[in-house]
Amino acid sequence: MVGLSEGEKHFIRGGIAQDLRSDGRKRLQFRSISVETGVIPQANGSARVRLGATDVIASIKAELGKPSILRPDKGKVSIFVDCSPTAAPMFEGRGGEELSNDLSVALQRCLLGGTSGAGAGIDLSSLIIVDGKVCWDLYIDGLVISSDGNLLDALAAAIKVALSNTGIPKVSVLGASSDEQPDVDVSDEEFLQFDTSGVPVIVTLTKVGRHYIVDATSEEESQMSSAISVSVNRRGQICGLTKRGGAGLDPSVVLDMISVANSVSQQLITVLDSEIAAAEASEE
């Protein structure tokens, strides 16, 4: 963890109270975002997102699989996050496991919607090829390379960019008999673009003292009393929410934090959109 002296702690808290954080930002201002796509050639889609010194990579791999018996009309998505030991000394060995689990669960909650599949950021029914027989299994892997706070927001942004960068091979079904596994032909030339309009972003509000800030660095995170991660989509609807432990919050504060996160997220989506467009333009 970050070892801070009393004076440094006081300085961070004081800065936040006066709306001037130690790196010169305002409370609701993100660090500069840099986005790079197609960083892993063998994946179907990938992206690297840097938020200040926080550096994460998301990769998407699509494989043919069989839909589950309970949901024959939907594909499957699994999300897994790994914290590289290079990011922080405490991730070495099994140290990063708990954080990896937390992040994976939070991302699943935000991206996959309710158990019925309603409200999912990724439309699972678009992954189906033959009902009950063949579907795409989407493996979303996040990797934390360098950690300086706000990992969840960075990972969610990386996944959103990676999905927009993902091409899924076109599949044509050959001779489907009713009870056997149908033969499919996977094209290696034609790719379908993924619809990412519904994929939400995550905004984490960290409460320090009486105020809350976005995009906290690890120094600032060490001073938090509590934090809420809200996932919001383009239409301003909440798609998932997790409270990050810590002290209790008054319900009215929670609601206020949600509405602040909502307005901040719209700015973030705009920034990401233009970054995606720029990254695509540079790739071509």
Partner: protein
Amino acid sequence: MATTPMTYSPSQGAERRQKQQQMRRMSQELDWKRSDGRSFHQCRPACLQTGATNAASGSAYAEFGATKVIVSVFGPRESKKAMMYSDIGRLNCNVSFTTFATPIRGQGSDNKEYSAMLHKALEGAVILESFPKTTVDVFALVLESGGGDLPVIISCASLALADAGIMMYDLVSSVSVSCFGKNIVIDPTAEEEACQDGSLMIACMPARNEVTQLTLTGQWSTAKTNEAMELCMDACSKLASIMRSCLKKSANLSS
């Protein structure tokens, strides 16, 4: 799934799917009877009891409908993990399920997600300064999973902590709601949870009006979030008074 090769439970499949489809149809309509006859905003009857196991410093058993949970609290005792001195105590939470808790036989292993969530829900309420250098272990075993497992575990765990005499700012009670289209139903059963559009769970300290844990899945508009939160907070404070009377009863019995 099962460890021995190729065995299956005969009750899966068509029958279950049909039930789910029926449930989905009903949820679109404005007024329908829930399978156990409750109205939308009615919780299952709660049965709580402290002192379920005497090997522990404190324990509690909770039965909400078909959901049955038992929680033991050990400690404060010597920390196994952190050897360094610390001004505050450590709260260690673990949740596991029995193999027969779910309709499909499971592996009966630890549930890391629930363990982490339980920890987050309780850490804001427990006064960690009151047991420096030591650990309090909160172990939960879900005997039967009948829906709303996590809220029941949280409420039961805070009752067990109180039974063990661990200092807390307030009891933590927890309630979840499911959303189906326009409808919000409180304290869902496992059947309802399997086809919900979204869910919201609150763990709070009612006397202090503070939320210790809040999770939400699915798409929610702000207005609906407000409504669901109010509903949960109200149910939480009612649940807390039941928990309080349960503690009073056991205190009277022992004195």
